[in-house]
């Protein structure tokens, strides 16, 4: 396939965004929907072709488009690189994005600024594509910031809502913390490698594994430090513990946005980045340990919060966070391919869940609280079926060697790799992961039961209006559902099975002693069965809690008391941050503002100077009397002054 087609897969969404964004009023709602959907659908079709060429036939393509920055020894070009990792991401990004685009046509059908929405969606897609196709860190950063921007715009899409404003600002600010780490990481890379081009960096990484540098009197291992800085960036974007507080709030955006950005694609950028930089991380075992621990902790913390929440989208959001934790600890135990595998399957079933949840919310006329739902599974059977498929895939239900949902293959691979790890943190991650598997199953079925079963808890008026969504919304879910069912079964062999070294074709690097995926085939049998053994009880518990004995949840909550409150309030992260950073910063800011800026800088600076300026201006104005002889006199005095000046000088 030729270069223009590769570029089309990246730039068509930009074109769509451009047209819909700038000429949205001209071409109308329908026009902008057609343009953006068309652009992304074509890009998705091309992505499949690229996947076949690159991943299956082993072609690797790299194009340099234009020089970007050249300063001294620092050179960066705009370049695109297509290897297997990129090709997988292309499928995920363009595939999910195109489905979400089409879905949005229905979901946002009554919104008043459709062109803006479609344009943002396409713009996001483009930035995400820039991120995954980049052949250097800086361009990746460009995409990274671009998706952050698009995320901000889309969370804040209903900008009349104050909560949306706050959520958008929060997402942006928290991400800035991560981005700061990322930026420092890029500087560090340039410092130690002298380049930010992936090829150069990876080439030099093995030699520089033991390099160290001095910082404030401490000797720091260079590669580890850089990897950790970059990982901070990944933590921000992928909502890992500590920098995760923005993700649940980001659910203020329209549901398709949550599905596309905050579940399937953008939040996985961090995982992608770690996988992309695997040749560096492999030489920084300390960094890998941190990645594993953060991932595992995130998985369990998010999973536990998910148990207690009532907002349907927030439950799925915490689930996303927890699954991202899985991916990170997979990467941390060097099972990058398993992480990407899970990234891919997760994109399908999580997008499906979100879009299905959107359909439910649609049916309930905008209601998101699960306590006010229930009893509608007969009325919206298709959505119900979708949610079942999504939940089954998320919980990773399947029978080894026979068939499993998408999540079964990828999640089991992750857990097995963790179990096979030779490090202590791998085993810790395994056990945490198994517990999370239980939680996942529990909250998934809790969600299903609360939403669809039981007695209707919504008011009569809402119940009358419950209706199945139109096919423009249900249609795009079909490919996602198919993916959620079959993707794991079909792709298992490529990603983590026997064909994997041909499939990855060098785009992921693993040191021989850390090859956990190989070792995963030799772990004890019970370790393989344990996750399933924990997931099924999760389903049963949910059934017991929410169908057989509906008063049980309240009793348990009361019995656990403090623990329940801690979890219900999301471990008080928001409150802690508010106290530590927000209020401190605002107090400090007030001191600088009132004392420093208003008092000193403005007082003597702008305001003082402005007042002085006004006085001077008036004084000069008074010179302009309007009498011609005054003017003439001024001229003569001027000449006389100049002449006198020369007289005394010579």
């Amino acid at each position: 396939m030729s270069q223009p087609l590769y570029m089309a897969a990246v730039f068509f969404p930009l074109l769509g965004a451009f047209i819909a964004g700038l000429f949205g009023r001209k071409i109308g709602d329908r026009g902008s929907q057609i343009v953006t959907c068309g652009g992304v659908l074509v890009a998705a079709a091309l992505s499949i072709k690229i996947f076949v060429d690159v991943a299956l036939h082993g072609e690797i393509h790299a194009f340099t488009l234009a020089p970007w920055i050249q300063s001294g020894t620092f050179t960066v070009n705009w370049g695109l690189q297509f290897d297997t990792l990129t090709a997988v991401m292309l499928i995920v990004v363009n595939g999910v994005s195109s489905m979400v685009h089409v879905y949005s046509v229905g979901y946002m059908g009554h919104d008043k600024s459709i062109p803006r929405f479609m344009s943002y969606l396409s713009l996001f897609t483009f930035f995400m594509l820039m991120l995954v196709t980049s052949d250097n860190l800086l361009q990746m950063f460009f995409g990274w910031e671009g998706v952050g921007l698009a995320s901000y715009l889309l969370i804040n899409f209903w900008y009349e809502k104050e909560s949306a404003n706050n959520a958008a600002i929060k997402a942006f600010l928290v991400n800035r913390v991560g981005d700061f780490g990322f930026a420092l990481g890029i500087f560090g890379c340039f410092l130690i490698f002298g380049s930010v081009q992936f090829a150069d960096m990876f080439h030099k990484a093995p030699d520089l594994a033991n390099l160290s540098f001095l910082f404030l009197g401490h000797t720091l291992p260079a590669l580890t430090t850089v990897c950790l800085l970059l990982f901070i960036g990944a933590m921000g974007k992928s909502a890992q513990l500590g920098l995760h507080t923005w993700l649940p709030d980001a659910m203020e955006g329209p549901t398709p946005v949550s599905a596309l950005i905050h579940a399937a694609t953008m939040v996985t950028a961090g995982v992608f980045m770690v996988a992309r930089l695997s040749p560096m991380f492999e030489y920084a075992p300390m960094a890998l340990m941190v990645v594993t621990l953060v991932g595992a902790l995130t998985a369990i913390v998010a999973g536990s919060i998910g148990l207690t929440q009532f907002d349907i989208k927030r439950v799925i959001a915490y689930s996303t966070m927890s699954q991202l934790g899985y991916m990170f600890f997979a990467a941390g135990v060097s099972a990058y391919s398993a992480a990407i595998f899970h990234l891919m399957t997760h994109a399908f079933f999580k997008a499906l869940l979100f879009l299905g949840a959107g359909s439910v919310i649609h049916a309930f006329s905008g209601e998101q609280d699960m306590r006010k739902m229930g009893g509608i599974w007969r009325k919206i059977p298709i959505t119900y079926a979708y949610m079942w498929i999504g939940s089954l895939a998320l919980a990773g239900i399947g029978l080894d060697g026979v068939f499993g949902m998408a999540g079964f293959y990828s999640k089991d691979m992750i857990l097995e790799s963790a179990a096979a790890s030779s490090h202590w943190f791998g085993h810790l991650a395994y056990w945490l992961g198994v517990i999370v598997a239980f939680m996942t199953a529990f909250y998934s079925w809790r969600l299903l039961i609360l939403t669809f079963h039981g007695r209707p808890r919504a008011d009569a008026h809402t119940m009358e209006h419950v209706h199945e969504s139109p096919w423009i919304m249900l249609g795009p879910l079909v490919p996602l559902a198919i993916g959620a069912i079959f993707a794991g079964w079909y792709a298992d062999d490529w990603f983590v099975g026997a064909a994997r070294s041909n499939f990855w074709n060098g785009s992921i690097f693993v040191l021989a002693q850390d090859n956990t995926i190989d070792k995963a085939h030799f772990i004890p049998e019970w370790e393989k069965w344990l996750p399933m053994g924990f997931a099924l009880p999760g389903i049963i518990f949910a059934y017991v809690f929410y169908t057989l004995k509906p008063d049980l949840p309240g009793k348990v909550a009361k019995a656990c008391g403090g623990l329940y409150r801690l979890v219900y309030h999301k471990y008080y992260f928001d409150e802690l941050y508010d106290f530590l950073f927000v209020r401190m910063a605002s107090r400090l800011g007030r001191i600088f503002w009132v004392g420093g800026d208003d008092g000193i800088i403005d007082g003597y600076g702008p305001n003082g100077v402005a007042a002085l300026t006004g006085r001077i201006a008036k004084y000069i104005g008074a010179l302009q009397t309007g009498y011609v002889y005054h003017y003439a006199f001024a001229m003569v005095i001027g000449v006389a002054a100049f002449v006198t000046w020369f007289w005394f000088r010579s």
Binding site: G614, I620, L623, Q624, V628, A632, M635, V639, F642, S650
Partner: protein, 495 residues
């Protein structure tokens, strides 16, 4: 003298002949001919501009060939009183362009104010001719006659609306003070002539290079000449006529004043100070530094309290002359190039502003108070946007042309080690940014009467479009002007 002179001065001669033909035509046909004369003058000025441009291409395939010292064959005419070098051509294109645009700028206004007479374009033609002669002058005498031809036409133009007391007053003021300045200039010329016996620029240049210390009489002469020309460019302290004349003269005349004569006078001042008095730079430098700094300061500060947009533009022009003079102070090829780029941007920017002012009418009455701009963005967003472009450009906001004008000037100053000048320039730009931005604020954020007449006819629209586009296109494609300015600067400094 021989017939090559006629060829060398062909643009000027044809302009003179054309103006006189138009005069005859106008006299014969009477008032009815106003429109025809206007259109014909516009076409003629434009054709001559194209001719001058073409001359430039013939003569300057590459600037190394344009050294004056390397023999500027075919450049001199009329016994070396007239010079046609790249510098003159560059400025002439600006002047002719400014005049042409001024002519079309005036059509609606004159018609609406009942001032449409054939004499108007003819006077513009003569003023333009005078300016062309000025910038081509290679002799103090030629300079003086060119200057007088220009000035006399301008005096009449300022008082053109003779039934309006303000217009007559401004014409009279301009005339009286202009006569005084001409007297100073002439006195300076006579001092120079008395002490050297020559009036040709090239001879003077040679004489001063050989001279170790010039006699003080020459310096006095220089002071008087500088004073006379400083009046024409309206630099402090010879600026006081400017606000009154700008305010009183009919608006299209003011537009013309602000665009063309200023450029011509700056060019003449530059040529005079660089060519004949180039070796006395450390002498005149002190005067020009004072004039420049004073102009920048006064123009920026006094503009703050103005209420009439025309007076505001007067102070703005004073400040801008201050910046342009920095280019002369820096001197050398870099300074001259910066000066030329500056004027090439400034003249069209200011024409654009006046086009906006001329477009601003309420029930047929023209508006000239600054507060009249209030709420323009709501009634006429396009016009407001155009004004924003001009104001941002004048204020020197980066992506627009005006920024580059100032940038080159200050860059040249910094490179020449004149840091204080550059700093004063930047600071005063900040001060003057206040009054430019204030207009934008009025247009977009304040509520006014909100009734404006619809956008005017063709002529004004063309000027608006051309000047606004120019402000933007320069950013993208500045090379032609920067290159030509370099060639022109080389031809003057011989570097």
């Amino acid at each position: 003298m021989n017939f090559t002179s006629l060829y060398t001065a062909f643009p000027e001669i044809s302009l003179a002949v054309f103006a006189m033909l138009m005069l005859i035509y106008g006299v014969v046909r009477g008032e009815r001919s106003a429109q025809t004369v206007g259109i014909a003058s516009f076409v003629a000025v434009l054709s001559i501009m194209i001719f001058v441009l073409k001359l430039g291409f013939i003569y300057s395939p590459g600037f190394p060939k344009l050294h004056i010292s390397a023999g500027c064959y075919g450049c001199y005419a009329f016994d070396y009183m007239f010079i046609d070098d790249a510098f003159a051509r560059f400025v002439k294109v600006i002047l002719l362009c400014g005049s042409a645009l001024s002519i079309i700028l005036s059509w609606t206004y004159l018609k609406k104010e009942n001032l449409s007479h054939p004499e108007y374009p003819i006077l513009i033609l003569f003023a333009t001719l005078g300016m062309l002669l000025m910038v081509s002058a290679n002799d103090l005498l030629a300079l003086y006659v060119g200057l007088e031809l220009q000035s006399l036409s301008l005096y009449v133009l300022a008082a053109y609306n003779r039934d309006n007391a303000k217009s007559s007053e401004s014409g009279l003021k301009y005339f009286v003070l202009g006569a005084l300045s001409s007297g100073l200039l002439l006195y300076g010329i006579s001092l120079i002539y008395g002490y050297t016996g020559v009036t040709k620029f090239t001879s003077l240049s040679k004489l001063f290079i050989d001279m170790h210390q010039p006699p003080i009489g020459v310096l006095f002469g220089l002071v008087f000449i500088c004073a006379g020309l400083a009046f024409k460019v309206s630099a402090v302290p010879f600026h006081m006529w400017t606000p009154d004349v700008y305010e009183g003269a009919p608006t299209p005349v003011t537009a013309f004043f602000a665009a063309a004569p200023k450029v011509a006078a700056l060019a003449v001042l530059a040529r005079l100070l660089i060519v004949p008095f180039g070796s006395l730079a450390h002498q005149w430098g002190q005067i020009i530094v004072f004039i420049s700094v004073a102009s920048m300061l006064l123009g920026s500060f006094a503009g703050l309290v103005q209420s009439s947009i025309k007076r505001l533009m007067a102070y703005s022009s004073i400040a801008n002359v201050g910046y342009a003079l920095v280019g002369i102070i820096v001197g050398g090829t870099a300074g001259m190039q910066a000066l030329l780029i500056y004027v090439a941007i400034y003249f069209i920017n200011t024409l654009g502003v006046f086009a906006v002012i001329l477009s601003l009418r309420r029930k047929g009455k023209s508006l000239d108070r600054i507060v009249d701009f209030s709420g323009l963005a709501k009634t006429n967003p396009l016009l407001a946007l155009t004004m924003v472009i001009f104001m941002f450009s004048l204020a020197g906001v980066p992506p627009l042309a005006g920024f580059f004008g100032k940038y080159f000037i200050f860059l040249a100053a910094v490179k020449a080690g004149m840091m204080p000048l550059a700093i004063i320039g930047v600071l005063t730009s900040v001060v003057s940014a206040y009054y430019y931005l204030r207009i934008i604020k009025l247009m977009y954020f304040d509520d006014g009467i909100n009734i404006f007449d619809p956008l005017p006819e063709f002529g004004l629209r063309i000027v608006l479009a051309i000047s606004a586009l120019y402000m933007i296109v320069f950013t993208i494609w500045p090379a032609p002007i920067i290159d030509q300015a370099l060639i022109a600067a080389h031809s003057l400094t011989g570097g």
